[in-house]
């Protein structure tokens, strides 16, 4: 089975090892230690880690398209948010008649905006399986349609980036509209239960944290499997010499579409795990600024390495938590500086540095991926 292939790679083993170790450690420190203990990890922190992990998954998804396919998507926030909304709608339905108006079916914001019945597209979201399916399908379909149009007409490079940005911007405006029935600017919030468990209990938070960890592991595995398969090499080929790949008889646009859709779905899953942990989803997740920030995580961590994306996501967001806490004014400066410095001085990102320190790596035009493609073909 192709999905299990990556296990033979050192980088994968290492990554999964670290991930599992970290998860068990946090769990232990949270459960077994008394609160008085300095090492005790409280629910707040667990929750924070959970958020970071969902961001990491999102970053992995972006790295798959950017690093391996060379498509710089400035609209992945849209897929993330769509997944989030799908989950949010499920959680809203779970509130049932415990809303402030005690309406059996309608969410509060619909009641006080005088909606008499649930819009058709809310149907089915009271069923977990349907909602979770939507978490995959909603972003997937958007990516499919958008990607199909774009790749067929060979919109690539900068143009594609700009168009993806326009896409997420348009969606943001759309979701801000209250007529859309997604709560407008306030979005969806005040969640209560997920699968019958109280979202406001620490143990459920721990559960979500672990679930996110597992999702990240799986997502990483999928991306890695794709990257190190022959298809992955076709992607790299497309990235470096699209025309050549065509002349070799590959239907480039379909490969691009396939990977793009997979990536979008992963982003959706990340969003779905993000929402119950932060407790709100609103259109600001669609903002182009957020989408660009994701790309920075990847760039900082190092493109086309996947684990680099994870490192980047966690580093940047940790820094954000610290900065906005200690010296808020400085955060945007720091973020801006990161963008400049990383792109100018650190094109291969942190992972690049690591690779360089391991063995002053080959002068290949892309970071990382030469190291892991050998084992597969051999």
């Amino acid at each position: 089975m192709w999905l299990t292939r990556p296990f033979s790679e050192r980088s994968t083993q290492l990554f999964l090892g670290v991930l599992i170790a970290a998860m068990t450690l946090v769990t232990f420190l949270h459960l077994a230690l008394p609160e008085s203990n300095p090492l005790y990890v409280n629910a707040y922190t667990v929750n924070l880690f959970g958020k970071y992990l969902s961001y990491a998954l999102l970053a992995v998804a972006v790295d798959l398209v950017w690093g391996y396919l060379g498509i710089l998507s400035l609209g992945h926030g849209a897929f993330f948010a769509l997944g989030g909304y799908a989950m949010g709608m499920y959680l809203m339905r779970q509130i049932g008649d415990r809303g402030v108006y005690g309406h059996p079916e309608l969410p509060d914001f619909m009641v006080f905006l005088n909606w008499d019945s649930l819009p058709w597209y809310w149907a089915g979201f009271d069923m977990a399986w349907f909602a979770f399916l939507m978490v995959l399908l909603a972003p997937g379909l958007l990516a499919l349609v958008f990607g199909f149009l774009a790749f067929r007409s060979r919109v690539t490079g900068v143009y594609l980036s700009i168009i993806t940005q326009a896409l997420t911007f348009a969606l943001m405006l759309a979701f801000f509209r209250n007529e859309m029935g997604f709560g407008g600017n306030n979005g969806l919030t005040d969640f209560r239960d997920i699968l019958g468990f109280n979202l406001r209990s620490d143990s459920v938070r721990l559960g979500l944290f672990l679930a996110t960890g597992v999702a990240l592991g799986l997502g990483y595995l999928i991306c890695r499997a794709i990257a190190s398969s022959k298809l992955g090499r076709v992607c790299v080929a497309t990235r470096d010499a699209e025309a050549r790949t065509r002349f070799l008889g590959y239907r480039v646009e379909r490969f691009q579409l396939f990977v793009f859709v997979v990536s979008a779905m992963l982003a959706g899953v990340a969003g779905a795990l993000y929402v119950p942990q932060v407790g709100i989803i609103n259109p600001s997740e669609f903002s182009p600024l957020f989408s660009i920030e994701i790309v920075l995580w990847v760039a900082l961590g190092g493109r086309a390495t996947l684990y680099g994306a994870v490192i980047g996501a966690i580093l940047v967001n940790y820094a954000k938590t610290i900065f906005t806490g200690v010296m808020p004014e400085a955060w945007l400066f720091a973020l801006g500086a990161m963008f400049v410095l990383v792109t100018v001085f650190l094109p291969k990102g942190v992972a690049g540095l690591l690779a360089y320190r391991r063995k002053n790596s080959t002068s290949s035009s892309t970071p990382g991926n030469t190291s892991n493609t050998k084992e597969v073909s051999a």
Partner: protein, 458 residues
Amino acid sequence: MTTFQRMIPVTHTRFPAKPARFAAAALVAAITAGGVTQVMAQEEEDPIKVGILHSLTGTMAISESTLKDTVEMLIEQQNEAGGLLGRELEAVVVDPASNWPLFAERARELLAQEEVDVIFGNWTSVSRKAVLPVVEELNGLLFYPVQYEGEESSENVFYTGAAPNQQAIPAVNYLHEQVGVERWVLAGTDYVYPRTTNRILEAYLQEEFGVAEEDIMVNYTPFGHSDWQNIVAEIGRFGSEGKKTAVVSTINGDANVPFYRELANQGIDAADIPVVAFSVGEQELSGIDTAPLVGHLAAWNYFMSVDTDANYDFIDAWIEYTGDEESVTNDPMEAHYIGFNMWAEAVRKAGTTDVDAVKDAIIGVTVPNLTGGYAAMMPNHHITKPVLIGEVQDNGQFDVVWQTPSTVAGDAWSDFLPGSRDLISDWRAPMRCGNFNVETGSCGGSTAAEEAEAALAE
């Protein structure tokens, strides 16, 4: 934070699996062990921690950063006056950076990590909605200082800003009775506050003044909308049908400047079609060319130009604190002023900062406001306010032209929305319900109530 409150979320939840149950057990043990000693210690010399949850960066920084300064100033004054219960007050400032999920995260940090005794914060509705579940879960106290759409009442939140019936409705009353307006434009930015307010106004105008459908024009624009040509032209046409017309504006922040400019340029004068705004205050005016606004109206519960000693003292203190001759005061600042004093009073009354005690003590507390009257905390966690209508002057100040004869009590649930007609809110025992349905005679199922009962059961 006392022991049993922290246990509520834990002990009253169904657990996914065995390990978790063990977890809870461990946690409970840990808390009861560590917790008690903490409380002991706290009561003695620890300062009282006051959390401030206002954006210092990002788009909302413009409005919110001054509120942070206000609370810090109030804390300073309180400490100079010998603190509270003989303990110092200490401000704990965090920056949610105008990012809504971050608001929830920071609130959790304040309550779980810093263990603050009270939070003053939030501006936008969405940020409040994001924080609400956290504050309820961790049983904190939140004072919310901005006018908002109502339709909410939480056991843990105190709404010191205006509810729609404390701003919008008196404003249209004034326009109808004093100015003789018969035709209405309800223009707003497309988010919950304008949507709800306009719904209420629509219903109100039709029910109270029998205004006809075609005499009401509703219009929504996106945030930061800058191209008003079409809409203003439409307003002009709508207003030139012979009936006296007014615009009720819930347009938010940045969109206002281009809006008023366009009005002026298209020759629509305050004398012909006055605009009454609910979100334009001294702070906003200080950033714009007031020329096009002169004569337009704003409805607030406080104006910097109010002629009372309390107000002058407050302004002096503020100017001194900021060290900036030009700094202005505005309505949300007064709201914090009132809220802070109410909380302080309640703490004195209860003799402790314990959240539940303060919650019970604060209802009925009355403190002076800055407009020469008194503000009282109602059982629905809203307060009584006077409503003032001011005309914009060329110096960026408001000239008060009308005021409600007496103060108005805030309504959590509007009488003009079908959903909330039958709802009332009363957080006193025994009812302890934020959305009691007088029809069904049952509490509408808000978990805040459940948790309260649970708390009592402990």
